[in-house]
């Protein structure tokens, strides 16, 4: 028996999967770390909400429009792409916070800090699942194509990429725009899940959650990011009573992962039958070694 609570968790998971999948293109595959992607979710959410509530546009139209709005706004960040890693992340932080503050001060348009409401619950689990599935398939198709390879080359070595004829800036921007689109759509879905919006829902903590999902799952692994998103979204819901401690464990887990296995849960591997087979074989061989060790007779004197 699946409770409606569990179904709403599933919906939330799907929403986060869409956002994380988009961000993984930018962070995992292009190598640009961002602290501001909740800003794109915010833009998508508010755009979709306003278009629906004030202009009566249908749900399935406002979702991609929310994505588009976020995508267009991402153009502002274009000049910051050439900055070194840290600097870009901070610029993104500035962007995300700016969006939040603008929404806070949006007066009647966005409802300001009080919030913007009036959306019906149109994002239920079937819709969310459908969008997430489509999002994942399209993302996988991007990654396993010349576009994905180009981005990976940029991540690995920008100068080598240039020497292969790759226009680094333009491709980085492509990754940014796509990631913004995905986060915008996720934000739009979110608006019709929560049924009301407040700028504080899209703050640095949210951005950090998204980015760390990508890292947790493994830079360069889409399936890893998805798994991390599933885990990180569902754990707090499962352990509701431990709500306060979930972020404590989350932070700790993040540090430990990076210190012990910086390549993340999956490294650059994708979940596939081959991967599962290899993993199973490894586990079996380790098991065999241990049992051999214990059954070996003690060396004679």
């Amino acid at each position: 028996m699946v409770s409606s609570y569990m179904l709403s968790v599933l919906t939330l998971i799907c929403i986060n999967i869409v956002a994380v999948a988009g961000l993984s293109l930018l962070t995992g595959f292009t190598g640009l770390f961002s602290f501001g992607h909740s800003g794109f979710m915010s833009i998508g959410a508010y755009t979709a909400a306003i278009l629906f509530v004030k202009f009566n546009m249908p749900y399935w139209a406002v979702l991609p429009l929310g994505g588009l709005a976020a995508c267009l706004v991402s153009g502002i960040m274009y000049p910051t792409l050439r900055l070194k890693g840290d600097y870009f992340a901070i610029a993104a932080l500035g962007f995300g916070e700016s969006v939040r503050l603008i929404m806070d001060n949006g007066g009647n348009l966005t409802g300001g800090a009080r919030g913007f409401g009036g959306m019906p619950t149109l994002t239920k689990w079937p819709e969310a699942l459908l969008v997430a599935a489509i999002a994942l398939v399209l993302m996988r198709n991007i990654i396993r194509s010349r576009f994905g390879r180009t981005l990976i080359a940029i991540r690995e070595d920008k100068i080598a990429a240039q020497s292969m004829g790759i226009n680094v800036a333009r491709n980085q921007y492509l990754a940014l725009a796509i990631s913004a689109f995905y986060c915008g759509v996720a934000g739009a879905m979110f608006a019709f899940f929560m049924t009301y919006l407040q700028p504080s829902m899209f703050d640095v903590a949210k951005s950090t959650e998204l980015s760390s999902s990508v890292v947790f799952g493994g830079i360069g692994s889409l399936s890893g990011s998805v798994i991390a998103a599933i885990v990180l979204t569902s754990i707090p819901e499962i352990f509701r009573p431990l709500m306060q401690w979930r972020m404590v464990f989350y932070g700790l887990a993040l540090v430990l992962t990076i210190v012990v296995k910086p390549t993340g849960l999956m490294g650059t591997n994708e979940l596939s039958f081959g991967f599962l087979q290899r993993f199973a074989r490894k586990v079996i061989s380790v098991g065999k070694k241990n049992s051999q060790a214990t059954t070996k007779p003690k060396g004679g004197k």
């Binding site: 198709n141 576009f147 390879r149 990976i152 070595d157 100068i159 240039q162 020497s163």
Partner: protein, 262 residues
């Protein structure tokens, strides 16, 4: 005249790395660029490939001025290079390294990629096949699916050459392709370069420290020292050039040599 550098100079702050560097390469030539460490050879390469911009001077490819073009444009126009310290895409396979270079010739639209059209599948297969060809030629066919950073050093260097080849370059700039190799490996590499040159009718500019090899295969040799061209000529002329000897061994030792002989 396929490729020429005219009076290139580069100053970094107070340091002049390269001064009045000029060189011209004709189609099909194999030219060597030598000089002591720090002479400015790699800087010259960087200037010629657009990675850094010269303080003055120009670079021309087939008569066209490419000096101000960004590095990726220069690459697209047909100037390929390898790097002294290797710049492979470490965490991906050898095959992917080469496919990323060769895919320029096998394009398809973004929408095609999203929807997996038959054009997409056809181009991908063709790119992969072509890349395998290049890998086979340098001897990496068997290791196509190995991660680039798991390859032994010598094969990594060959991979970088395969990648540069995959760009179908008009001019190929090799920056110390045999760096870190023992004499046998270097010899093998040089033979490989020679055979690649014949097979693909390449024009090559080569930086190297292994003198015997440079002298052996290069038709013309340019000597760089302290950022300036010291001498230019064929191997006999260079080997007997006193200034070149002094540059490598140092003037004092040259004196000692003379004293020892007399």
């Amino acid at each position: 005249m396929l490729f020429e550098a005219q009076h290139l100079s580069k100053t970094f702050g107070g340091l002049t790395a390269v001064r009045d560097f000029s060189l011209s390469i004709n189609k099909g030539e194999l030219i060597g660029l030598i000089g002591p460490n720090g002479a400015g050879k790699t800087t010259a390469f960087n200037l010629m490939t657009g990675i850094i911009k010269p303080t003055s001077g120009s670079v021309r490819l087939e008569g066209r001025d490419i000096t101000a073009l960004p590095a990726y444009e220069v690459s697209k126009l047909g100037v390929a290079r390898t790097f002294q310290n290797l710049r492979l895409l470490k965490t991906v396979s050898a095959l992917q390294n080469v496919v990323t270079a060769v895919q320029r010739e096998y394009s398809y639209s973004f929408v095609s990629a999203l929807t997996r059209t038959s054009r997409f599948r056809h181009q991908e297969a063709a790119a992969k096949a072509k890349a395998l060809e290049y890998l086979d030629i340098v001897g990496l066919g068997q290791m196509a699916n190995s991660r680039a950073d798991s390859l032994p050093y010598g094969l990594q260097r060959k991979l970088e050459i395969a990648r540069a080849l995959a760009l179908s370059p008009k001019v190929l700039l090799l920056d110390e392709p045999a760096a870190g190799m023992n004499p046998d490996e270097s010899l093998e590499l040089m033979n490989l370069i020679e055979s690649l040159r014949k097979k693909y009718d390449l024009t090559i500019l080569l930086i190297e420290h292994h003198m015997e090899l440079v002298m052996g295969i290069c038709e013309r040799i340019i000597v760089l020292n302290f950022g300036e061209i010291l001498a230019e000529g064929n191997s006999e002329e260079i080997q007997s050039n006193e200034e070149v000897i002094a540059a490598y061994l140092g003037p004092d030792e040259e004196e000692d040599e003379r004293e020892a002989i007399s």
